[in-house]
Symmetry: C2
Subunit: 335 residues, 2 copies
């Protein structure tokens, strides 16, 4: 059995969609148990029509709720009866096998850092979502955990991202690239310039710099950058895709020809949407902490929550945390 | 008459497309003169079928060509008979009214900085292209001139970007935003956090932080960031748009329905392409130097070159350099 702790109050549509997501995940995986963490009085009444999986649902009363308005580090320190704190402590004590939240990213990070703790040798844990590039997915690391980075963090992001793809996505020799503003070695800001030679020495298949226009061109499987750039990339990708789809829709609705084409092309556009939907592969794992932690998108629907739970279970089954620990130890020895 | 110096050897398809672009610009604007700078022996034979505008074309023999492989600052120092050096010096002496190049960005920057010079009070000149957001255009500044920025550069970018939109695009009160990873004031990396209060005090309409997903959502007219982030945004926008259009094409070609829809929707997709085509508004002006300098995209076709020349002429006619000088003086007095 794999046992995942779910922050039941995290996310825009919580606790309704978190509970529905948990039920979906449990129905798809008979070897799964889920603990729902949150104010029990709010959660229990919503557990309806789930007799088929009810025996694999546990409730953990966490009456204190951390919202996006709370200062994360302070909240983790003070709200000891929140799902973020209780879940991370249960994970630390091996009472559960993974933690999933669609709530405050900052609280998940702070909980991971200060309640669960880092893997020995890891300088900074990092968020590593998989994003679509048309051919498949690439791992973007870090996408927001570390907005100011020292050069030596970046090769570790590469090590962790490559371990993730090898371990969980069965990719043999992931190509690791460094986000930069030119393809040439000597290009970049101070951080990228200092990180480049460290990336060359790191124990992964380093393919050099990746420019903005190549990030979604399937030239690298692991795209490494500081958390400021990564967050910009993550959100800008959503923004550009949304804006472009909006323009296409507007232009197709502008005349009868376009309207007819739009109707006929509906299945094709549905497939496009599916290709671009990165919630299918789960949320963003927080790599580098001593346990399986997945941060799902705040706007996750029930299916996205189910995917994040499935992903956390897979990370545990494949032994990702041990794999990262091994790789980081190897990297430190080589240095 | 407005007189623009064009780096005839700059760009992927130079000198053919630069010359064709110059001819298009001259034919569209009877009050325009163009000097073509480059090896005269290569340029002159290409000047065919242009008797109608030949009297407004001048040739400046610049036998030394700076390529993308040259180290920019070194090239500007050593290749004194290059179009970049000769053009910038002519601009400085008011022998021409503007300089346009689709060649090495670094050489244009170095030429602007060291041969032409900064406007008094400007800390760092910056590249400021206009990019499409579906509703119109926004000015992204800096998009690559300054990869490492001090906080005080950013409000100046805002001042220059706003002056550009006011002066050349007739926008009354441009909304200026700061690229950041959250909407809240306290979010960001060290640079963004330090720049925020300076942006609040600056003499423009500051609307606060702009997240990645809002950059193309028409919430700000001037989008301010360091040159590393800006270059990432510029190129990633191209990349995501290209990838998404590729996915759409692939999915529409995947079945007969989609193929038919694609044929019917052709005019709509042509309009989408036109909406997204930012070469129509010209290249990226280098704001903050003592003269009109426009960097066109390296892959510019003849029409894009013509647009960049038209844009440079407009910047001169509207007195943009004086306007920026005035605004920067005002900002410094308020400090």
């Amino acid at each position: 059995m794999i046992h995942i702790y779910l922050d039941a109050m995290g996310g825009d549509d919580a606790p309704n969609c978190t509970i529905q997501g948990a039920l979906e995940a449990l129905r798809n995986d008979p070897e799964l148990e889920v603990t729902l963490g949150g104010p029990i009085g709010e959660i229990e009444p919503l557990l309806k029509e789930c007799d088929d999986v009810r025996s694999r649902i546990h409730l953990d009363d966490a009456p204190e709720v951390i919202t996006n308005h709370d200062a994360p580090v302070m909240a983790i320190r003070q709200k000891k009866n929140s799902a973020q704190v209780r879940g991370m402590l249960m994970l630390k004590e091996n009472a559960v096998d993974g933690f999933v939240s669609a709530g405050s990213t900052g609280a998940t990070l702070a909980g991971g850092m200060f309640r669960l703790g880092r893997i020995d040798g890891v300088e900074r844990p990092a968020l590593a979502p998989l994003l679509p590039n048309g051919k498949g997915f690439f791992c973007l690391i870090d996408c927001g955990a570390n907005v100011d980075c020292l050069p030596q963090y970046l090769p570790q992001f590469g090590v962790m991202g490559a371990a993730y793809l090898r371990c969980v996505q069965n990719m043999e020799n992931p190509r690791v690239g460094l986000v930069n503003i030119g393809a040439e070695t000597e290009k970049g800001n101070a951080l990228a310039k200092a990180a480049y030679p460290l990336m060359e020495q790191a124990p992964f298949h380093f393919i050099g710099n990746v420019e903005g226009r190549d990030i979604t061109a399937d030239v690298a499987d692991v795209v490494v950058c500081d958390g400021f750039s990564g967050n910009l990339i993550l959100k800008f990708m959503e923004g550009v895709a949304g804006t472009l789809m909006g323009i296409i829709k507007k232009e197709m609705m502008a005349d009868t020809r376009g309207k007819i084409a739009g109707l006929i092309a509906k299945p094709a556009f549905r497939r496009v949407k599916k290709t671009m939907d990165y919630t299918e592969v789960g949320g963003a794992p927080l790599l580098g902490v001593k346990g399986v932690v997945v941060k799902a998108h705040g706007s996750s629907n029930a299916h996205a929550i189910a995917c994040a739970i499935r992903q956390a279970a897979l990370m545990k089954r494949r032994g990702l945390v041990d794999a990262i620990e091994k790789e980081i130890t190897k990297q430190l020895k080589e240095d």
